[in-house]
Subunit: 322 residues, 2 copies
């Protein structure tokens, strides 16, 4: 019998849950080679522009495997709809039978992505964060900022967005939550004011350039997850003292690192996987003027871990209800 849960049920079941430990553990197992994650399945559309990703896999010895489908259709807001949607499917490793459908509309993908940003900041951000910079004004731009609350008490935020209206809405929303938000005219102005920057756009051209990045800055680039998207000039990755990928193999063909590899500004030897750093933080040494870049393309193990945790939450509820 397949269990089906709606977004509302999921939101209620996970209230107060912190997925960071589960997702950290997922990255570690992934980097240790204990996770099977085939290449991402992908459909890329024009008119209207959109992409659908299928991410799937399992942790060795687990009793389930997970298939996650997530879509971003960037004209949806014009129709009054969310860009993101999706669902997660949990299967039995013993029989292949579908156990659970999480109709999360992309919500769990948003969370596991924001959690990955939080993890990057926890391990890579400078000791003294002066202000948080955000390039982009969408759901992830907001969540990435809010999820930093366990990493830093800083509430100074500088934001840039292509669409000024959206930037002002971002400002209003985060101000209502207690943040102090300044809207900047250019991405460069964000970089000038911040030493922790998150890029969260579907841009296909670089938005930030090497000369704009101050020494001592950490950048988490989470917007570019296809071979077409790009937010950072590859020269930034060349300049970076620490260059982190969520998945070495995915970053060969997706995201900022793939562009820098293609441009020849970095070589694979420079890349450290996020799971390696979580497993052995002493692997990196962040000095004062260090520039670090973490390139997040989104790894199926994040989906596996969050879907598993959510299913467990429903199971526990079921037991309590008995």
């Amino acid at each position: 019998m397949t269990e089906i849960y709606t977004l509302e049920q999921i939101q209620s079941a996970i209230k107060g849950m912190d997925f960071s430990p589960a997702i950290e553990e997922g990255f570690v197992q992934y980097s240790l080679g204990n996770v099977t994650v085939p290449p991402v399945g992908e459909l890329v559309f024009d008119q209207p522009p959109g992409d659908t990703h299928i991410k799937y896999g399992y942790i060795q010895n687990a009793d389930t495997y997970v298939i996650k489908i997530a879509s971003g259709f960037y004209d949806n807001p014009k129709l009054g709809l969310s860009s993101n949607s999706g669902l997660m499917l949990v299967f039995s490793r013993q029989t292949g039978f579908l156990k659970t459908i999480l109709l999360d509309d992309g919500f769990l993908t948003d969370i596991r992505t924001a959690v990955a940003g939080r993890i990057c900041a926890a391990y890579l951000a400078p000791e003294k964060i002066t202000a948080i910079g955000v390039i982009g004004t969408g759901i992830q731009a907001r969540m990435q900022v809010e999820y930093l609350n366990t990493v830093t008490p800083v509430q100074n935020v500088y934001v840039w967005g292509r669409n000024e209206k959206h930037a002002l809405a971002f400002q209003a929303d985060l101000c209502a939550k207690g943040y102090d938000v300044s809207v900047m005219k250019t991405p460069a102005k964000v970089a000038e004011n911040c030493n922790l920057i998150i890029t969260a756009t579907p841009s296909k051209q670089p938005l930030l350039f090497k000369k704009e990045i101050k020494p001592g800055t950490h950048i988490t680039a989470m917007g570019s997850d296809t071979s077409e998207k790009q937010e950072l000039d590859p020269q930034i990755l060349k300049r970076a003292d620490i260059l982190v990928a969520d998945s070495r193999s995915q970053c060969r063909s997706r995201g900022e690192i793939s562009r820098a590899l293609a441009a020849g500004t970095v070589t694979e030897e420079k890349i450290i996987e996020l799971g390696d750093i979580i497993h052995r933080p002493e692997k990196i040494n962040r000095t004062e003027n260090c520039i670090s870049v973490a390139d997040l393309t989104g790894v199926a193990v994040q989906d596996v871990q969050i879907a598993t945790a959510v299913c467990r939450a429903f199971e526990n509820r079921g037991k309590q209800g008995e």
Copy 2:
């Protein structure tokens, strides 16, 4: 709002429907290059043995795209469960939103696979079918035989299965439906008695060999859909006068043709796509002693077409109910 339909609802909605025209049209559009079908996503498991396939794509200008997940776990019958399971997901091409979940438990995959076998027989079988041969005794072995009812009135069936009990059950079931079924001791004995043969096993070693195939025989090999499975000796494909693939690109890495290409017994030039034959049947010329082989690996366009047809059936029901 996502519509969710159970197997029972699907079975009721499609009663009496013939999917052959839709699936023929799908193969034609595929071979004309009007269908986007990325490489098959795959998880292959040991202990217990099983595989999960993700097939997905869309026909150009369609307003939906389809993702299908189908699993075969071959020890399930020991637990009293079906080997096959799965579901189909239909998404809006405009927004990426999930429109419909067909919880078909693999039933629609079974149908679209059986329909593909029927189409192969309709275009490739010898004019006078003497008897139907089946290698394998599972669901597909049964359905492949039954779906031939629109192609031939022949009800003489010869079957071989690894497990004699299952072969006897196959015999009993089809006899109850009016067929005259003989259980053979070897695959060779099936070939000796038949000029239309279907192979429908998850075998990893060849079960039929060149010298066993009589001139004038057509073989539809539908069991091997991964790079590991194989039912035919590659020498049969070398001997074949007509060699058909459901998908040229998939057959490079899956099924009988991939084995024969690797063994060097055939070259790609020899392969004709099924959709090309449906589109222009004059492309092939079946002479009396001709041996033909059709290698079916299962193409996402079949799933796209059957899912679309089922959704339309539900929509029409909805309208009638208004």
